[in-house]
């Protein structure tokens, strides 16, 4: 389990970083999305992997970590997913507007001379 997820995180992050370094704005957006999956999963992994133990308590009981998955990374990631949607949207719009202004979709706002 762990090793598969670790490899998956690595592939997502590697693809994300590769795209992040590309010259076209669309590539960077896709890269950021992939990177955010990787980072979210990485944070999630910090709470260790559990199957069949969602952090949903029984009524009138308090829980403990031996019976339930760690809820803290989950709470962190839940808002991170929503916020990353917002940043993706903002970035997308900025790049559309920038393309309108500069006429190019290069990240520098101008094609490279070379």
């Amino acid at each position: 389990m762990e090793i598969i997820l670790a490899l998956g995180i690595g592939v997502l992050a590697g693809s994300g970083v590769w795209l992040l370094l590309r010259p076209r704005t669309f590539q960077v957006i896709i890269g950021l999305t992939l990177l955010s999956y990787a980072v979210n999963l990485f944070i999630f992994a910090m709470g260790r992997l559990r199957t069949g133990a969602p952090a949903i308590l029984e009524v009138d009981r308090s829980g403990d970590l031996t019976h339930y998955a760690d809820p803290l990374p989950q709470a962190l990631i839940l808002t991170a997913i929503v916020i990353s949607f917002a940043t993706t949207a903002l970035f997308l719009v900025v790049l559309l507007v920038a393309r309108g202004l500069t006429g190019t979709d290069h990240v520098d706002g101008a094609e490279r001379e070379s």
Binding site: M1, I4, S15, Y37, I77
Partner: protein, 974 residues
């Protein structure tokens, strides 16, 4: 009034007045003057009322906690010395306000003047009353800031702007040095409390950091007091209105430097370093300033250099390391403030009534303004050190100090001679000031016919000149107690015996005074011919233009070097920046591994679930595929990213995180729609056309690939290393234990979001709202690139098909094509709405909650738009996302504020359960209300973003060249 009230109101009053003055009408000269005058008068009365608390070493203190964890408190502290300065600041401030009322012309925007003036007065009082080193520096910089605004008051003049900028650059740089010095000093003493610093003199002087601290603090003080070699800014500051000069350069701004020297005298003085740096700087300034003053052709310029010289004298006195000299220094601070303020005002009157300040043009003014002339003569005599005037007394004390042997060095032995020489220079420039302005033949061709100024404009000068006289004749009765109070506050029990009498008998100092008077007259006589030649500045020296040197240094440092550095190290290319960023992150990660090893626990269960492995094979393929295709095949890349997101979502549900899985899945849908909407505005890119794979590009790609591989495998390794070892104990326990018992919900993740960490969530939804508004604002004026303006190819084909016989309205192909799905989608809307509400309400106990419900609702809305089109939906439904954002934020914040009504802290939640008919037992936590706010905001924000982008497709767009005037409909209000 108690001490605390006195000190606080003294500090706040000028700032409050400044605020009021700023908002009065532009032509309200009288009201402004009355207001400022009353403020200054009240401050003066308050200060006077403090006198009885500070005599004989008394100290008033007010202390309020500021940053107690750092040992920083806000301390107002007044002792005798601070009292003396507060008197000067408020007293002369009052007189200057009265003077300024008549000086400023009706065309000048007076609210600005008086507002800055009062704020400056407040900053100055803040410096004087500061009982904490950091606080002192803060107000110190504030004086610099407001003096900048005051000097540059007539900002339409280039000279005023330059002078103000130079003053700010020099004094603020000094101020930064001062801050560094104060930090060292506070570190040495272990406290920033002024009282503790003053009591720790021995410790400071013997500390290894004494010299750096001293040099830094002196850089602050000497720049402020315009001491050599930082003297050049002061003459440039003469472009300020004369009331400003009279205030800044007699009693306040430049005196702040010597104030600091005297203030820290007990803590820092008494060493050779102090003697040499402070003493030498003072001596050079004293002589040089006096010499340069003789050759000025501008009345205010002459006074400016004389100010520099007198400040040099005070600095020299404080630098001599003897208590008696320090007393003389403090005494001269008072005297200089009185005669210099009156002289500046006098020069201002001459300027105001004749229209010029040029000594070469002025002459014989005695005939036209005898009273002003007499007043100026008395003040100038005080400046020259003529007996029976206050300047004489402090100068005599100074001469006496120069004679007293100190260490027998060459400088020490020649000091009396140098002092006498500088005394001669001061006599010469004072004489010149009077003689060339008021005597000689009547001036011709002046811009205005000279006459006496208005009664009340002259009044401040009269008052100050009378003070010069009274102090000069009966010092013991007038200034005696004040001086003792101030000097005692600085020197403490070490206060030496001194005699303020006018007549000490025939002594050497008297001889020096006489020599200075006669010598000065002689110098003036000898130089007269040269001075009448009308050349500005002394021989040789005038070619050394310090402001030019200053400007050249400034240009070199802040322009050339900065530019060179930018060219050397900077880049405007995002790719290079990102490469550096990723590289730095990698190095930082490796750095922490240096010398250690990444302990991977291989004993952990290597259980491989084949299904999970298969899942991630798909996920990894999707990710790599998206990375390869993102350039030429955007749609394919987008779908592959969706695949990777789906795998992530399944992973979440697999690994016991149902809330995350739901959120991820829904966000995936919305993101895909969003980017699909954006794709329409991106340029076409066809594989093969621009892929001239040159060697450089290949090398770059190879480098990026290596970087990506290292980053990916590094993160992989790190994740595995962490997962393979047992979890440390964390605060998660707390949440699990208290989620139900205190939060009233069984879904711990949701309870954390809306209850335990509700404040974080409030912040996050605020960010979400802001982002949505930013997107909306950016798109309101959206101009697409010219090649994207035409409708897309597919739409063109469809429309062409519609237009071909048999004729159908445009868009029919689309509606026909999606007819059945559209009906289903429209029918789904109410069900999705119900589902969203269900997810919202159950969120506290089961997977769901505001975020998830909000996105669900947005998806429902999106389906409606996709099925019917924008026009169809908006003809039937009022979609007002901006209002939803506002309502959601208000609801969430309001729930938090509601806790205050029951006297609980912000966002405390209340949990209960109620038995409802039909539905049964339902949770009724106040957190549900908060979650409702989250829900409404998420719907609003997401809808606003998506609709704003969608609306671009039906807007008529202007091409960059053609200027159509079609106002497009906006998403927010439709």
């Amino acid at each position: 009034m108690s001490n605390a009230t006195l000190l606080i109101s003294l500090t706040i009053l000028p700032f409050a007045g400044s605020l009021v003055a700023a908002f009065l009408p532009a032509n309200a000269r009288n009201i402004e003057a009355w207001l400022s005058g009353l403020i200054a008068l009240s401050a003066l009365i308050l200060t006077t009322a403090c006198y009885w608390s500070v005599t004989a070493g008394g100290v008033m203190r007010y202390e309020a906690q500021w940053l107690p964890t750092l040992g920083l408190n806000f301390i107002l502290r007044m002792d005798g010395f601070a009292w003396l300065f507060a008197m000067l600041v408020t007293g002369i401030g009052l007189l200057v306000v009265l003077y300024a009322r008549y000086y400023m012309s009706p065309q000048d925007p007076v609210p600005r003047f008086f507002s800055f003036f009062l704020a400056f007065m407040g900053a100055m009082l803040g410096v004087v009353l500061a009982g904490n080193l950091i606080q002192l520096v803060f107000f110190w910089e504030l004086t610099g800031l407001f003096s900048f605004l005051l000097i540059g008051y007539w900002h339409h003049r280039a000279g005023a702007r330059d002078g103000a900028r130079m003053a700010l650059t020099v004094t603020a740089t000094g101020g930064l040095c001062l801050l560094a010095g104060m930090l060292i000093l506070g570190h040495v003493v272990g406290s920033y409390d002024l009282d503790e610093v003053l009591a720790a003199g021995e410790l400071i002087r013997s500390h290894a950091l004494y010299l750096p601290a001293l040099i830094l603090i002196l850089l602050g003080a000497l720049t402020k007091s315009a001491q050599f070699p930082f003297h050049f800014w002061l003459p440039q500051a003469m472009v300020a209105p004369t009331p400003v000069s009279a205030y800044l350069h007699s009693a306040t701004l430049v005196k702040a430097g010597v104030f600091l020297l005297a203030r820290l005298w007990p803590a820092l003085a008494g060493t050779d370093a102090w003697l040499w740096i402070v003493g030498m700087s003072g001596l050079v300034t004293f002589v040089l300033g006096a010499y340069l003053a003789i050759f000025q052709q501008d009345l205010k310029g002459l006074l400016a250099y004389s100010t520099i010289s007198h400040l040099g004298l005070i600095t020299l006195l404080l630098g001599l390391n003897t208590p008696l000299a320090a007393v003389a220094g403090i005494f001269h601070i008072i005297n200089h403030a009185t005669f210099k303020a009156s002289l500046f005002m006098g020069a201002g009157i001459i300027d105001h009534e004749t229209g010029t300040r040029d000594i070469r043009r002025l002459s014989g003014l005695y005939r036209f303004m005898p009273i002003t002339a007499t007043l100026a003569m008395v003040a100038a005599a005080a400046m020259a050190g003529v007996p029976l005037l206050n300047g004489f007394l402090s100068k005599e004390m100074f001469f006496a100090e120069t004679i007293a042997a100190h260490d027998g060095s060459l400088v020490d032995q020649t000091l009396p001679l140098v002092a006498t020489l500088a005394g001669m220079f001061s006599v010469a420039y004072s004489l010149r000031f009077i003689h060339e302005t008021f005597f000689g033949p009547p001036a011709v061709a002046l811009p205005r016919v000279p006459h006496e100024p208005p009664r009340w404009m002259r009044f401040p000068v009269e008052l100050l000149v009378v003070a010069c006289l009274v102090v000069g004749i009966i010092p013991e009765l007038t200034v005696g107690p004040v001086l003792e109070t101030a000097a005692y506050a600085v020197l403490g029990p070490a206060l030496p015996q001194y005699n303020l009498a006018v007549w000490h008998g025939f002594t050497l100092p008297l001889l020096m005074s006489v020599a200075a008077l006669l010598g000065g007259a002689l110098i003036y006589r000898l130089l007269r011919e040269h001075l009448l030649g009308g050349v500005e500045g002394p021989p040789l020296w005038r070619h050394l233009k310090s402001q030019h040197i200053f400007e050249r240094v400034l240009v070199t440092v802040s322009w050339r070097w900065a530019g060179a550095l930018k060219n050397l190290l900077g880049t405007r290319h995002l790719q290079v920046q990102l490469r550096l960023l990723v590289g730095t992150a990698l190095i930082a990660a490796l750095w922490s591994l240096y010398g250690r090893e990444l302990a991977v626990d291989h004993t952990a269960s290597p259980a491989l679930d084949p299904a999970f492995a298969l899942l991630w094979t798909v996920g990894a393929t999707c990710a790599v595929g998206a990375a390869c295709l993102a350039k030429y095949h955007r749609l394919a890349a987008l779908i592959l990213v969706g695949g990777a997101g789906l795998v992530t979502s399944i992973t979440f549900v697999w690994l016991s995180a149902p809330d995350l899985a739901l959120t991820q899945l829904l966000v995936e849908i919305v993101t895909t729609v969003l980017i699909l909407l954006g794709l329409r505005w991106l340029p076409k890119r066809i594989e093969g056309i621009d892929s001239g794979a040159r060697l450089r590009i290949r090398a770059r790609r190879l480098g990026d690939l290596a970087l990506a591989l290292v980053a990916g495998s590094g993160l992989s390794l790190l994740a595995y290393a962490v997962m393979s070892r047992p979890a440390p104990s964390s605060i998660s326990r707390f949440f699990l234990e208290h989620a139900y018992t205190e939060g009233g919900g069984t879904n711990v993740v949701n309870v954390i979001l809306v209850d335990f960490r509700g404040f974080d969530t409030l912040g996050e939804i605020t960010v979400l709202g802001i982002v949505a508004l930013a997107v909306y604002a950016l798109l309101r004026r959206f101009r697409p690139a010219s090649d994207s303006i035409d409708i897309p190819e597919q739409q063109r084909l469809q429309n062409a098909r519609d237009a071909a016989p048999p004729l159908r309205p445009p868009g029919t192909t689309l509606t026909d094509y999606l007819a059945i799905p559209a009906v289903i989608m429209q029918l789904m809307f109410p069900f999705i709405g119900v589902l969203a509400m269900f997810l919202l309400i159950r969120g506290h106990n089961l997977p769901g909650g505001g975020f998830i419900a909000g996105i669900t609702m947005t998806v429902g809305l999106l389906l409606l738009y996709i099925a019917g089109g924008i026009r169809w939906v908006e003809a039937r439904l009022h979609v007002r996302p901006v209002r939803w954002i506002a309502m959601g934020l208000l609801l969430a914040a309001g729930t938090g504020v509601g806790a205050w009504l029951f006297s609980y802290p912000f966002l405390t939640s209340y949990a209960a359960h109620a038995e409802l008919p039909v539905i049964g037992r339902a949770p009724l936590a106040s957190a549900l209300l908060f979650d409702l706010g989250v829900f409404v905001l998420v719907v609003g924000a997401m809808a606003l973003i998506l609709l704003a982008l969608a609306h671009q497709s039906i807007r008529s767009h202007r091409t960059p060249s053609a200027k159509a005037t079609v106002t497009p409909p906006s998403a927010g209000e439709t």
